[in-house]
Amino acid sequence: MRSRTINCDILIIGGGMSGCGAAWEARRWLPSSKIIIVDKANIDRSGAVAMGLSAINTYLGLKNGENTVEEYVKYVKNDLMGVVREDLVYDIGRHVDGTVHMFEEWGLPIWHDKNQPERYVREGRWQVMINGESYKSIVAEAARSAADEVYNRVAITHILRDGDGKGCGAVGFNVRDGTFYVFIAKAVVVAAGGASQIYRPRSTGEGMGRTWYPPWASGSAYGLLIDAGAVMTMMEARFTVPRYKDGYGPVGAWQLLLKARQTNAENKDCFGLHKDEIKRDFNGMGGYADAIPTPTNLRVYAVLSEMKLGHGPIYMHTEEVLTEKNEEVGWEDFLDMTISQALVWAAQNIDPTKMPSEILPSEPYVMGSHATENGAWASGPEDISKDHNPRGENDRGKLYFWGYNRMSTIDGVFLCGDACGATAHKFSSGSFTEGRIAGKSAARYIQDTGGSKGSVDKSTIEDLHDLIYSPINRYEKFRDTVTGGDVYSSLLFWKQGIVRLQKIMDEYAAGWGSFYETNEGLLNTGYRLILYLADDFEKYSAAKSYHELLRIWELYHRILTAESVMQHMMFRKESRWPGYYLRSDYPKLDDQNWKVYVNSRYNKHEKRWEVWKVPVLEIVG
């Protein structure tokens, strides 16, 4: 196998929104160092923004006094039912406006208010409207101008740690020609995005790739970090988004800008019907059910309750707000970010000015930048987090600060976007901003400490090389033992593995097929089945091409992600986000015992998980 070794100062894994931010900012602070982006796709159109977006969901408007950072933190905290890292959220809020101004400078069309031209048009309190068809291409142009080299089509499978345990690079392969890549770096930024396709999607067959978060969101950020031994946080808070049925068109602009009503089949508002019960069971000490806006998961819960009572379908009443005059806004929302929804309308002859459309909660996703907070545990900014360490602790997995902002519990491995946990509501602009924070922090780490010296055993690399290509070798060994087809007694192809994973997660870990409910017994049984899958992966995983090798390593990252989700769900004995999932054996929110982060660490040599609680410290009252 052809192989290449590349030395650099900063290695950025994933050139999506946050990875591009990291490259840009790292360059500003290290003008003459070697900065590299590596991505399994082509960064001009990669990640969750590959299709474009029609809004920037995080912009405070500090310069016009539209919001304060404190208000932003409160909004995020309420939406996640009281459990977020306020230090990290605050940090996003105070920097994010600069990022959006930069995007506009680069040529991203942001709508300006006609009456107050210094202001943007608001979709809702925190969102601004854009014509974002080319959002990712523009941001990628900036990243390409900042990075020394961009390696497109190289999938990273494992993070490397040096003899001292510091992050010092990564290995992977070119998904087209199979070349083995070894990157040796002084610091590593993990920006490999969130995860879809871990739970059985509602879409089926040929359309299985039509999910809300893209099918290429492979949970690599989590898989890479879990495999490397980083501390993870809040992996149980995987979430569900209400979306237009079958096309997965987002609802934000319809709810916030156009103010369309969402009702059950009897034309009644779902939240209104369930408010009392929600208040009784889920208000907690924070009064979450009374918060404005109502937390996303509580709104989903009301919808689910109505569906269970047989009062579906749920309708978005586009016909009440859309006219021939303003319908372009509605179409733009989909054409710039979820084109398939426009096709579903055309295929079903739906005229949105004349009839409502169906809304349905999606399968769960694992990610850290939207209305949820899965990811790795990070050190906070020095000026906010330094004094917030519980006394007497020296385990980073229980601290808020250990020197470098957004550093994971592994020295020299930095986090941003979906990879960084307990920091919800970053979205595209916040993810890029967190990339900038991580990029600067990595630069500072290298300046202060010199970073890793990159001393990795030759045998470690050789072992990884053999491991990475083992699915291809296994296939070659057995390929001619059957007359044809994909059925072998001792080969597991990616498609078979992912469908198995999705079935387990759907049935045991609160997917849509089990109405987002689970309990101790289900989780224990499901977990046993996941372990068999993980074991089968080790013994039988097979690939016929480099493309399938990509898929099989994506599956590896997804399995590790799923394992951690289950570990966390087993540990948290309450229902904190009832619309995301309900533990039917603990069907209420329990602030007394569970207003905590759940953190974990995986020891891959012993195949053992450690899971523990960390108290929530609030900095904004």
């Binding site: 500003r28 602070w29 003008p31 600069g98 179409w331 600067k440 410290l617 900095i619 904004v620």
Partner: protein
Amino acid sequence: MPTFVYTSRCVGCGDCVDICPNDLMHFNPKNRKPYNIEPEGCWECLNCVKVCNRSAIEVRGYADFVPMGAAIDVLRDEKRNMVFWRIKYRNGKIKEFSFPIRTKPWGSIKRPKAADPAQLRSEFLSDEPDIIGIKDLKVPSAPREVSK
């Protein structure tokens, strides 16, 4: 709506192969023209359609849950910096829209300049606070622990 390529229009340039975020467009060794090797992995992002200047790629709704007979055409023009959409309903109705994609020419972003090295150990990101439009960086008004 997975993609497919018309043999007669495709010249085999490979642009769609280069752009697909999910590594789906691969050359068919028999005719050296690309096709979607894994329709069930297609997100319908239409990036392959937008990049094909021969209009050789089309999409069709997922046969297993979307009625057939509708179509979407798109033309993305980096000179005029506009994207043009044409939506054909199953019942024949046509809708057309166009939107801006960028306000600056492509390739206009320059390699960024060095930030002030004296600020490396501060909390300022490059060009802050000016770029935010305020005078200083915010810190929590009461940086204190209010619970536990």
